[in-house]
Amino acid sequence: MPDNSILRLNRLRRTFGGVVAVSDLTLDVCRGTVTSLIGPNGAGKTTIFNLITGYLHPTAGEIIFNGRSLMGLKPHRIAAAGIGRTFQNVQIFPQMSVLENIMAGRHLRSRAGFFYSSILPPVLRGEEKKIQESAEKQLHFLGLAPKAHVPAGSLPLGSQRMLEIARALAIEPKLLLLDEPASGLNSRETIAMGELIQKIKAMQITVLLVEHDMELVMDISDAVAVINFGSLIANGSPAEIQANEDVIAAYLGE
């Protein structure tokens, strides 16, 4: 196990009935890298994300984040441990404004409960102000500031994906899981997404990425892991992966 591993999947296994979705997968994600998980549709990539973030529980194996086991933790506890995520089918809060979406992301960084929130809001004015200021900063970072008060549901898909990432960044994660951030985006938006991921890396946040756009993956990744039928078939730098015959076979079919 490398010393700089932030996330370690150890012989991770998940079955659905008789179907093995993830099969004894062992993988390390190194601190400060952009690591991509690629593989054909149905290879088990999203299942791996759901296992890491607690939406599914492994049948066997272990997940260690920052030296601490995540086994049995609910999604909100895993978020508190420092893992942020986005979803394959964008899940913003459509009724809330763009700003409120990000403010909701500050949940873990603030403490107000039911009592003070409902009866004595002036006590919380300082905290609310901090929440709003940091959310506005986040909006500026992503260039969404002009849309702050628009209902999030009315944004175009590209902006919704940006917003979802901004909201995940608002929890100040140490590790960010992005599930197909470029799917449905046009080429200009995809380039912007690549730049955003580089910026996130520059903020010392480790990124684990599932993506089908190979140009994007090879461009921004430090390491690429290839999954097929729930197993790891290759793992290495983008150049190594592009030259790997097993990978080519898995993608093109033999």
Binding site: H76, A79, I92, M96, E100, S117, S118, I119, E127, E128
Partner: protein, 337 residues
């Protein structure tokens, strides 16, 4: 509280203060007091349904528990109505917690059915536990509330008191909506998975908002019991719970003001209908009170078809369209000038 809401809140306070000066008839003042009880329940229900996105067809049961706790403790044990109301709140918190934990695991129609079942259980207990609740005969002789040693004897006093409770409820609800907690609730309404990914404990939040909205209902029930001085199971059947969510839906789920509008309109509707029936009699149509249900159903159908967002936002959007129209005309005049 945000700008437009504080304006709305002060308008509500103003309306409460002025109303008894306009309505001097004790009967109509009484009708408006009954309206306040529904408004209070609906504000709580709106937090649960409109903001947290959890449906409950069982809130009439919490009203009943509040009313019966007050009735039993004040008549059988001669407790102060205030203490009895507090006991009702505590009891409802415990019951809502116990019902909420299993029920809120369910979603949509299943949650609706579970809460409906709860409502019918409470109604059955109210009818059948004769020793405790008096059964179908109910409980008589519930005392009026006193405020700083003053007994609220007149209808006007109770009107002010009940509507102050509504104002307090609206204040609490509006504060909550624009807070960390309110954002958490709206987030889990939008997407439970995404809310959890931000560290929001969705199970705890659902149970807590269920408990809070049950407290609104319980206080409303206690106030009702102390006002009418007599309770029986009749008003607390399952249809009452259905009527409560109809009020919230008719007014508009996504806004506290909508819930208030719906509660006021549907609470006053029987009075409006009986008023109209006098006129119908003049033109030779015999209106029977039984037709009320028909009119309710028709109104609900029309609103769901044409104003699915509820009366309140329906009216707001018509108003903003009118404003837009006038704005354009004004601009046009400017150009002409």
């Amino acid at each position: 509280m945000k700008g437009k809401h504080s304006a709305g809140f002060f308008a509500l306070i103003g309306a409460i203060m002025v109303m008894p000066l306009l309505v001097t008839n004790d009967y109509y003042l009484g009708v408006l007091t009954f309206t306040a009880f529904n408004c209070l329940t609906c504000v709580g229900l709106c937090l649960l349904m409109g903001y947290a996105g959890q449906i409950s067809i069982g809130h009439g049961a919490f009203v009943a528990i509040g009313a019966y706790t007050t009735g039993i403790l004040t008549t059988k044990l001669a407790w102060s109505p205030w203490l009895a109301m507090l006991c009702g709140v505590v009891l409802v918190l415990v019951i809502a917690f116990c019902v909420g934990i299993p029920a809120l695991r369910l979603k949509g129609h299943y949650l609706a059915m579970a809460t409906l079942g709860f409502a019918s259980i409470v109604h059955v207990v109210a009818v059948a536990a004769v020793d405790l609740t008096g059964g179908p005969a109910g409980i008589v002789g519930i005392p009026r509330l006193n405020l700083f040693g003053y007994v609220l004897n007149s209808d006007k006093q109770y009107f002010y008191f009940a509507w102050s409770a509504v104002a307090a409820g609206v204040y609490i609800a509006l504060n909550l909506i624009y807070s960390r907690v309110g954002r958490g609730l709206q987030a889990l309404h939008g997407s439970e998975d995404a809310a959890a990914s931000l560290g929001i404990n969705i199970t705890a939040y659902k149970v807590q908002i269920f408990m809070l909205s049950a407290v609104f209902a319980s206080v409303s029930g206690s106030l009702y019991a102390c006002y009418v001085n007599y309770i029986d199971p009749g008003p607390f059947d399952v249809m009452h719970s259905v009527l409560l969510i109809t009020m919230v839906a008719v007014g508009g789920l996504h806004s506290i003001w909508g819930a208030l509008t719906g509660a006021v309109v549907l609470s006053l509707l029987p009075e409006i209908l009986s008023f109209l029936s006098d006129y119908l009699q003049v033109v030779g149509i015999q209106y029977q009170p039984d037709y009320d249900t028909l009119v309710y159903g028709g109104i609900l159908l029309i609103i769901m078809l044409f104003l699915p967002e509820g009366i309140f936002s329906g009216i707001s959007s018509v108003l903003s369209r009118v404003r837009l129209l006038f704005g354009k005309t004004a601009k046009g005049t400017d150009h002409a000038g």
